[in-house]
Symmetry: C2
Subunit: 95 residues, 2 copies
């Protein structure tokens, strides 16, 4: 993405919601970058779960710590997905 595109997006203050699949720990930096760009990430974790449960645990812990550190939020969505949000977006947990 070019600098000008990022600039235009920030001007309009649009929040994007992105659906991704997690296949390996190497994808975590890109996911964190998406959150830092104020994107909401819905992450299908089953590809990594089927490959390596220990790596999945590490990934979820790392994403949990990251979301707390930036003031975002994180939650499970069914059996297959987790949601990670940037600051300003919170997951509704009922009244």
């Amino acid at each position: 993405m070019s600098q000008s595109t990022i600039g235009e997006k920030a001007k309009e203050e649009i929040i994007y919601l992105k659906a991704l699949s997690l296949k390996s720990l190497e994808e975590l930096p890109n996911i964190k970058e998406d959150i830092n760009r104020k994107m909401i990430v819905i992450l299908r974790i089953t590809p990594l779960a089927q490959k390596d449960v220990e790596e999945l645990k590490k990934a979820v812990e790392e994403l949990y710590e990251f979301s707390v550190s930036v003031g975002g939020d994180i939650a499970r969505l069914g059996e297959e997905r987790i949601v990670i949000t940037p600051p300003g977006v919170k997951i509704w947990r009922g009244l």
Copy 2:
């Protein structure tokens, strides 16, 4: 929710993300109200799909038209869910 709670929420401009299950068409007004309150709704459609496929079609059409009319967005999320967003939140469909 009390008036004062709504007031406080608007002040901070927090967007909430809410996960719900769709069981009948009667729930559509509440879902639309959530979108109007700037909530993102992740809707599990399988409960209605298992009950009545025609009603599910109607529900998805109605939510599609609603999301377009308010300037939000809507997309499928896997086999079991759809995501509906308020204005200001767009679903990322790649570069």
